[in-house]
Symmetry: C2
Subunit: 403 residues, 2 copies
């Protein structure tokens, strides 16, 4: 098989861990696979460099930040190459440039435009294990180093796997797969063997932090079979994230996610001027505030109550935006002490009663649901934050996820 293996910052945090990663790679090599490894910077390294930059400038230029930050992955890639050499494996390290990764010119948050796999293919043919510096490419127009933003090394790995048509892309972190829910909340949580891209996307955007949406979206688009697994327990098989057709037995519910980083904004008795809701949401969008769930209730007096949620990160920005709408409503109130519980599963499409079971389960525990929103494969509910763990455990049991 041709495999792309990606190792995150915690997996290469120091020389001992880099040696550990070299063992994972050499074992796979011994099993006969062709390997392209993609590596992050040693954890802490990127933050150290960022701190330097911010000590020198209040607003460092982004193309210079990219020149600076890209050094970290180059260091890891050569060190990993050196330790594999020492054990007589043929290797070659590559910067993003040499690996052929071309991006747009949005420095520090660039998007991959294309990958020229010529060098990668040649070196695979030469029998080399290739170690690619993740998180980086070069801009298509200025030919300068660019970086891909948060989760950038995952993106490098998925994009390379897609471009070179690898059989598998294994993303190694410090977590050994995707669980039915957060095991710190519910110790009976089970690791999933397989999950579809869409379920993974819904779980990730609902608070499961193992994988980032951008890389799962890209994997879906490029049809890359992803595996989420841990470099600290490499003998444990991870979770395969693949297209729905590849999953024979589709569970009604695959997992339950919880997201506490949400604020509920309530507007009471909004005046019935036409277009007022549109005006509110476009003002929020202009400030890049990601509105998640929205509920509108029309009262008998023709006035409406409007409830919506935003990420806690955007709370201050949101309050500023809302000031200009104070006159249009009787009262605006903000509640930080809420959370979003999401139930995700492709089987929902063909099963009824999933939502009603959720509502009755929470009701039995005396938990009020403030907002509900549903998609084809997801039900999300806003409840008071203090009920978060109780709600997760009750739902986990109700859907038999511990079996």
């Amino acid at each position: 098989m041709l495999k792309v293996l990606k190792f995150g910052g915690t997996s290469v945090a120091n020389l001992e861990k880099i040696k550990n990663v070299s063992k994972i790679i050499s074992k796979q090599r011994d099993e006969g696979h062709d390997i392209i490894a993609v590596v992050s910077a040693m954890s802490g390294e990127t933050n150290k460099l960022l701190k330097y930059a911010h000590k020198l400038s209040k607003k460092p230029k982004k193309n210079e930040l990219d020149m600076l930050l890209s050094a970290g992955e180059r260091i890891t890639s050569s060190l990993l190459s050196i330790v594999l050499n020492e054990h007589n494996y043929k290797t070659i390290s590559m910067s993003g440039r040499i690996a052929g990764i071309v991006t747009d010119d949005k420095h520090t948050n660039a998007r991959i435009k294309s990958i020229d796999v010529k060098n990668l293919k040649n070196e695979i043919k030469n029998g080399n294990i290739i170690i690619v510096a993740g998180f980086q490419g070069i801009t298509y127009n200025t030919n300068r180093v660019s970086t891909l933003g948060r989760g950038g090394s995952d993106l490098s790995a998925v994009a390379i796997a897609g471009a070179i048509k690898a059989d598998l892309c294994e993303l190694y972190t410090d977590v050994d797969g995707i669980y039915t829910t957060d095991p710190r909340i519910e110790p009976k949580a089970k690791k999933l063997n397989k999950i579809s891209y869409d379920e993974m996307l819904e779980l990730a955007s609902s608070g499961a932090k193992v994988l980032q949406n951008r890389s799962v979206e890209m994997a879906k688009k490029l049809n890359v079979n992803l595996i989420s697994r841990s470099s600290f327990t490499p003998d444990v098989e991870g979770t395969l994230i693949t297209k729905e057709e590849n999953i024979m037995e589709k569970p009604v519910v695959s997992g339950i996610a919880v997201d506490k980083d949400q604020v509920r904004v309530g507007m009471f008795k909004v005046s019935d001027k036409p277009g007022i809701a549109a005006s509110i949401f476009s003002s929020l969008a202009n400030e890049d505030i990601n509105v998640d769930m929205i509920v509108q209730t029309v009262g008998v007096d023709g006035k409406t109550d409007l409830d919506f949620t935003i990420p806690t990160n955007d709370f201050e920005k949101c309050k500023n935006v809302m000031e200009k709408f104070v006159k249009d409503t009787q009262k605006i109130d903000y509640n930080e002490f809420i959370c979003k519980i999401s139930i995700v599963g492709v089987g929902m499409k063909s099963h009824t009663g999933v939502a009603s079971k959720a509502f009755s389960t929470l009701a039995q525990e005396g938990i009020n649901i403030r907002i509900i929103s549903t998609s084809e494969i997801k039900i999300s509910m806003i409840v008071e934050e203090k009920y978060a763990e109780l709600a997760v455990r009750a739902l986990h049991e109700a859907y038999n996820l511990d079996k």
Copy 2:
């Protein structure tokens, strides 16, 4: 003027020192000069990375060492660019690749083959101060990062200055110029305003450590006017190293250097087999041992005594080579406690009596000269190491260098 300024590792050792360098650059910019700055890695950084590599492998592959080590200069170049931006100077950082530096494929000790100044010229035209990561280029054949070995950033600077026909190349270190002799030995030593390439080369190879021969040789070849000065006292003018024709008043003696890292090898009564000396010196050359001074004395019995000096670094290697010649001589003896005193000056060419003054000065102090060798602009003498400082001070006074 178009200037290339080079800042060594101690000049950019930490963020405060990088800020200091940015002030030197911005001051020169304010005076109207176009600036290309070439920077080394923050001191300690390269050694840290090397230590990592050697912890992972007994003999790290050289192309991977280059990938690893080249990260250090990239970091400095972006940090320096960022701090200059913060003070509203337009800047752009460049890796060796982008600066157009192409080398042979001798990784870790590459030689510059050519420089494509296209990007450099464009960015000067765009009004940018350019910050180039020194010490690195790319190989002409494999397109991989290469590094230039010891003194590599000086070489980058001189080569760029030559290729782009800069008016000046200023090499900033922690020493403010070239002195008539080491001021730690003779506090009356004077800083030279000007010195010719050839004198500088003789001084450098005779123990003066400020500049490396490779970069002075390149400056001479490319006709680059070099200035040696300090980033810690930027108001002090340094020493101009230039071609002899540019120096109007040629001093008979410009400086006195001392080199204690020498071992004298004495072979007594070498048998008069033809070709024995040739055989000894070619055996030493095969081991890359740099034989410096040689004296041969033929005795009345037809047997010869052979004395020569080698660098202390090569002492062990030399002893191994000499084993096979033990049978050809009555005795081989090694003396580590010697030093080489060199008197350098272009004026010697046209003045007589320079050597005899040296011999009589040392004789007055009761210092025996063991070996003498002379070139057109240099007289070198081997004396006992314990006399090193005394000899330097006596000669410094004899040639009126403190005046």
